[in-house]
């Protein structure tokens, strides 16, 4: 396999963008990444999108968006893996460059979630769970994560306050991200006393509904060197994708995210690193409990210690292993198909030293972790600066 580098990154300002369409926000992000890379054409592109069909009634996004970018003719593929669509689109682009099938690939993610009603958006998101055996009897997405939270609380003594600290930390980080949807601080009290969604998860324990797009340009190492313009070269050193039993009730241990662990082990092995080597991470905090379970599954903290480690500040900016300096899904927003790509945007900026007030000092190796459903899919990438 050839070395694959990230040579350009871009995203639009995320939020409730009633004046902008899916194709427009996608094109904004794609153009930003192409400009950052210094290229005006690509060999191929991928689009991570969970459900153009349900959110805006539009499928066939590969062809639509290649056309929109003035690139009709190139190979273009839409990739779907629920909320992990963006991360899996990145892996797909990686494979195209690594295999030699293409030298320069535009990897994108997009979701336009506010053109439909809240009920329709909730129903669309619920399709990431088992429709017949989870959603039919009454499950909602927050409900499934709430049941994971309950199990984690019972098994390890994780508290509501510890979970709330995930939201507090990520909102504190997001203040420094100009692209973030909610650039404001929240307190533990605000999180705990917010409207209950699915006990113990309140509204501020959940990531929001967001319109947004993100893009990165990948290339082989030689092309990347030619276009580096003196910037640090960022290589995708490890890639891992794994799945778990789809329905939460079919998993033996409700407190473990086995697909996250398996994906991480593949990515670590490929990169030749251990969890201790990771200096900055962007992870899938769709709910506060998710970040706690993920940092355990990634091996950043021992099983059951995600809550206390978060409360102790280990994952804050300046902590032992800063997690979600971008603000995470909580503050930056969660346009589901775009999230996995935006994580790669953030870690690339961190490794280049271009992350401004949220910069993790001296970060040379970072990780992205994106997941679908209640963790039935997870994709992990290890990124590093190379000489």
């Amino acid at each position: 396999m050839r070395d694959v580098c990230i040579i350009g990154v871009g995203m639009n300002d995320w939020g409730e963008l009633w004046d902008l369409s899916l194709r427009t926000i996608w094109t904004q992000a794609a153009l930003a990444a192409l400009a950052d890379a210094g290229v005006d054409k690509v060999d191929a592109m991928t689009v991570g999108c969970m459900s153009g069909g349900l959110f805006v009634g539009q499928e066939h996004l590969g062809a639509l968006l290649a056309d929109e970018l003035g690139m009709a003719g190139i190979p273009a593929t839409r990739v779907e893996s629920a909320c992990a669509s963006g991360g899996v689109a990145l892996r797909t682009g990686f494979l195209e460059v690594a295999s030699g099938l293409a030298d320069v690939v535009l990897v994108t993610g997009v979701e336009k979630m506010t053109d439909c009603s809240n009920d329709e958006a909730t129903a669309a998101l619920a399709t990431a769970a088992d429709q017949e055996w989870e959603v039919f009897p009454g499950a909602t997405f927050p409900g499934l994560y709430a049941m994971m939270a309950r199990a984690h609380m019972a098994a390890f003594g994780t508290t509501r306050e510890q979970m709330a600290m995930v939201a507090v930390k990520n909102h504190a980080n997001g203040i420094h991200n100009p692209h973030a949807q909610y650039r404001r601080a929240v307190t533990v009290d605000e999180v705990l006393n917010g409207t209950m969604v699915a006990d113990p998860l309140t509204v501020l324990s959940c990531s929001p509904i967001t319109d947004g797009a993100a893009a990165v340009v990948l290339s082989d190492k030689e092309t990347a060197r030619r276009l580096a313009k003196g910037r640090p070269l960022v290589r995708i050193a490890g890639v891992g994708l794994a799945t778990d039993r789809m329905a939460l009730h079919n998993r033996a241990d409700l407190t473990a995210l086995n697909a996250v662990t398996a994906a991480a082990q593949k990515a670590y092995a490929m990169a030749g690193v251990t969890p201790e080597a990771i200096q900055v991470a962007e992870v899938h905090d769709c709910f506060t409990i998710a970040e706690i379970m993920i940092i355990e599954a990634l091996g950043f903290v021992p099983r059951g210690q995600g809550g206390p480690a978060t409360a102790a500040g280990e994952t804050g900016l300046g902590g032992r292993i800063p997690v979600n300096p971008s603000g995470g899904l909580k503050s930056k927003g969660h346009p589901v198909g775009a999230t996995g790509v935006a994580q790669a945007v953030e870690v690339t900026l961190q490794l280049r030293g271009e992350a401004g007030a949220r910069q993790v000092a001296g970060a040379r190796i970072g990780l992205t972790q994106n997941m679908g459903g209640t963790g039935a899919s997870s994709v992990v990438h290890v990124l590093e600066v190379i000489p």
């Binding site: 909730t122 009897p137 009454g138 909602t140 049941m147 939270a149 309950r150 019972a154 699915a198 006990d199």
Partner: protein, 132 residues
């Protein structure tokens, strides 16, 4: 969500109405509902297995914000129930009187109305858990 189509509901009658699952003839795994390949061992031969209606709560939540089919019911309790003799499912936990839901609570599955009158104009039935 809209109520599932009449065709889909009919397909699911054996599992939803009679709690019919399958027991893997190779490894003994209990599947609910039945499927073509055993997720535990990969074998493809099964005997029909009727789930026990007795089980315990493995985890639960109280849902306050629901999808459109369940909006009229909030707040309601949703649980993962592990059944005696094998099989787990997600269902509502209901009929609690002066009692808080808890992990480990013994429950019994009862045949109940689940969703009403969607696009297909049919009423969907299934099972809910109640304390025993």
């Amino acid at each position: 969500m809209t109520t599932p189509s009449a065709a889909r509901l009919t397909r699911e009658y054996p599992a939803r109405y009679r709690l019919e699952g399958a027991r893997c003839l190779a490894c003994g795994e209990i599947l609910y509902p039945r499927r073509l390949v055993c997720p535990a061992c990969g074998a493809r031969e099964f005997a029909v297995h009727r789930l026990s209606s007795h089980g315990v709560v493995k985890t639960f939540t109280v849902i306050h914000v629901a999808g459109s089919a369940f909006k009229h019911q909030v707040p309601y309790i949703l649980a993962v129930v592990a059944l005696e003799g094998g099989g787990t499912l997600t269902c509502e936990l209901t009929d609690l009187v002066d009692q808080q839901p808890e992990i480990g609570m013994p429950v019994e599955l009862q045949f109940r109305r689940i969703q009403e009158d969607g696009e297909a104009g049919v009423i969907a039935y299934g099972h809910k858990a109640v304390p025993r």
